[in-house]
C-alpha cells in the first residue's frame, strides 16, 4: 500500500504543470463552470479552440509554435521553445488536431515540454535521477507484491456500492503488477516474460540484479545502482524529465531502459508492466471502460515519454554515402 502511495504521488506530478485550460498563457482564464453544475458533471472548463492555424518558426533558442499570430507560451508565461524540429512538429500537430475544444489531457508531449521548460517542482538533475532511481527498489519486474497474493486484487476496497464486476478492477493508482508466488500459471508467465528482460539489462549494463518474491525484495547491489545512475547522468535534463515520466508510468526502471535502448516497443513494455492485469483479464474478462481505458492511457503516456526522450537526447547528423566511382 505504501508503495502505491509513493507512486501515486510520482505519477500525479505531471498534473502540476497542467492546470485545466491553462496550457497556454496567451489569453485570459477560461470560462468558469456554472455554479449550478451537478456534483459529478464533467468540468466545463475545456476551452474552445481559439486559433485557426498552427505554425512553427525557428527562433534563437530553438523551435517555437505559433497559434495564428500569437506565440505559444508555457503556464508560467515563458516562451515555448523546444530543441528539436521533430518535437516541434509533434507538438504543433497536437495543437492542430484539437477540434472544437482544447483537450489538454490528450496533449502529453506539450505537457512534457511545459514541465521541462517551467520545471514547476524546481528539481535539478540529481533530484531527477534520484527520483527515477528510487524505483529500482520497487521495480515491478523484480519486486514482490506488498500485499502478497494476486488474489488480493479482488478484495481491494472500492466504493460501497461496488458490484461484483467492479471489484475485480484495480483501483486507480495501484501498481500494475509484482512478483507473485501463486497462482502457478501467473508465476510461470512472469518468469517467462520478465526474466528475459532482466537478463537483457544485466548483459547490457554488466550488472547483477536477480529477482525475488520475498517481501523485502532483492537487495540491489550498490554497484548496480551506481552503474545505472551514472548511465542516467549521461542524459540531459529534458531527456531525464521524460525518463522519470516513463518510469513513473511503467513503475519500472528496467522496462524504461529497454524502451530507451530500443530493446522493447511501447506495446511490449506496457504489456510487461501490466502483466498481472493482463493475466487477470484473461481469467475474469475484459472491462472496456476500465481496462481498455487505462491501457490506452498508459500506452499514450509511455509513447509520449519515450518519444520525448528520443527526440531530446539525439544529436543527429546525417552523413550521405559518397557515390562509389
Amino acid at each position: 500500500m505504501w508503495r502505491s502511495c509513493l507512486r501515486l504521488r510520482g505519477g500525479g506530478r505531471h498534473l502540476l504543470n497542467c492546470p485545466r485550460g491553462g496550457l497556454t498563457a496567451s489569453r485570459g482564464p477560461g470560462p468558469k463552470p456554472p455554479a449550478h453544475a451537478r456534483a459529478y458533471a464533467p468540468p466545463a472548463a475545456e476551452r474552445k479552440r481559439f486559433y485557426q492555424n498552427v505554425s512553427i518558426t525557428q527562433g534563437e533558442a530553438g523551435f517555437e509554435i505559433n497559434l495564428d499570430h500569437r506565440k505559444l507560451r508555457t503556464p508560467q508565461a515563458k516562451l515555448f521553445t523546444v530543441p528539436s524540429e521533430a518535437l516541434a512538429v509533434a507538438v504543433a500537430t497536437e495543437w492542430d488536431s484539437q477540434q472544437d475544444t482544447i483537450k489538454t489531457y490528450t496533449m502529453h508531449l506539450t505537457t512534457l515540454c511545459n514541465t521541462s521548460l517551467d520545471n514547476p517542482t524546481q528539481r535539478d538533475k540529481d533530484q531527477l535521477i534520484w527520483a527515477a532511481a528510487k524505483f529500482l527498489d520497487t521495480d515491478t519486474v523484480w519486486s514482490p507484491a506488498p500485499h502478497l497474493s494476486s488474489g488480493s486484487r479482488m478484495a481491494r476496497p472500492w466504493h460501497p456500492a461496488a458490484s461484483l464486476l467492479v471489484c475485480i478492477l484495480p483501483a486507480p493508482g495501484f501498481s500494475h503488477g509484482c512478483r507473485v508466488e501463486e497462482p502457478e500459471t501467473l508465476v510461470e508467465l512472469q518468469r517467462n516474460e520478465w526474466d528475459p528482460v532482466i537478463g537483457w539489462a544485466e548483459r547490457r549494463y554488466g550488472v547483477k540484479i536477480g529477482s525475488s518474491t520475498s517481501i523485502m525484495g532483492p537487495s540491489i547491489p550498490a554497484r548496480t545502482r551506481e552503474v545505472l545512475v551514472s548511465h542516467l547522468a549521461s542524459y540531459n535534463t529534458w531527456a531525464l524529465q521524460g525518463i522519470e515520466f516513463v518510469v513513473s508510468q511503467l513503475k519500472s526502471m528496467v522496462l524504461t531502459l529497454g524502451l530507451i535502448d530500443l530493446h522493447l516497443t511501447v506495446e511490449q513494455a506496457v504489456l510487461l508492466s501490466r502483466l498481472e492485469e493482463a493475466f487477470q483479464i484473461q481469467k475474469w474478462g475484459n472491462v472496456e471502460w476500465a481496462h481498455d481505458y487505462e491501457l490506452q492511457d498508459l500506452r499514450a503516456r509511455t509513447a509520449a515519454g519515450a518519444l520525448f526522450v528520443h527526440l531530446c537526447s539525439e544529436s543527429s547528423a546525417v552523413k550521405h554515402k559518397l557515390p562509389q566511382g
Binding site: 458533471a41 492542430d96 489531457y105 490528450t106 530500443l262 471502460w289 481505458y293 490506452q296 518519444l307
Partner: protein, 113 residues
Amino acid sequence: MAALGPPLRTWRGLLRELRYLNAATGRPYRHTAAYRYLVKAFRAHRVTSEKLCRAQHELHFQAATYLCLLRSIREHVALHQEFHGKGERSVEESAGLVGLKLPQQPGGKGWEP
C-alpha cells in the same frame, strides 16, 4: 532489438492516423507540417545497402512510437467520450453497464396522474 515489422506498415499506419486527425478540420492531411516532416524523414532514411543500419532502425522505432502515441490517444479519447465524458449516468445506463435492466411496470406505478 525490438521487432517492429516492415517500415511500410508503420508509414501506412501513420498516414491513417494523420487522416483521422485532419478529418474533423476538413483540410487534406497532405498539407500539414507533420505529413511533410514524415515524408522528408522517411525519404532521407531509406534503406541503404548496409546490412545493419542503426540510424534507420532508430528512426523506424521513433516512427512506431509516434504511431503508438497517435493511435492510443485516438482510442483513449473515444473511450473517454463513450464512458467518462458525459458526467453522471442515469439509473438505466448504470444498470445497463453491468447487463441489468430496470423492471417494467406496464400499468404504471399507481401514483401517476
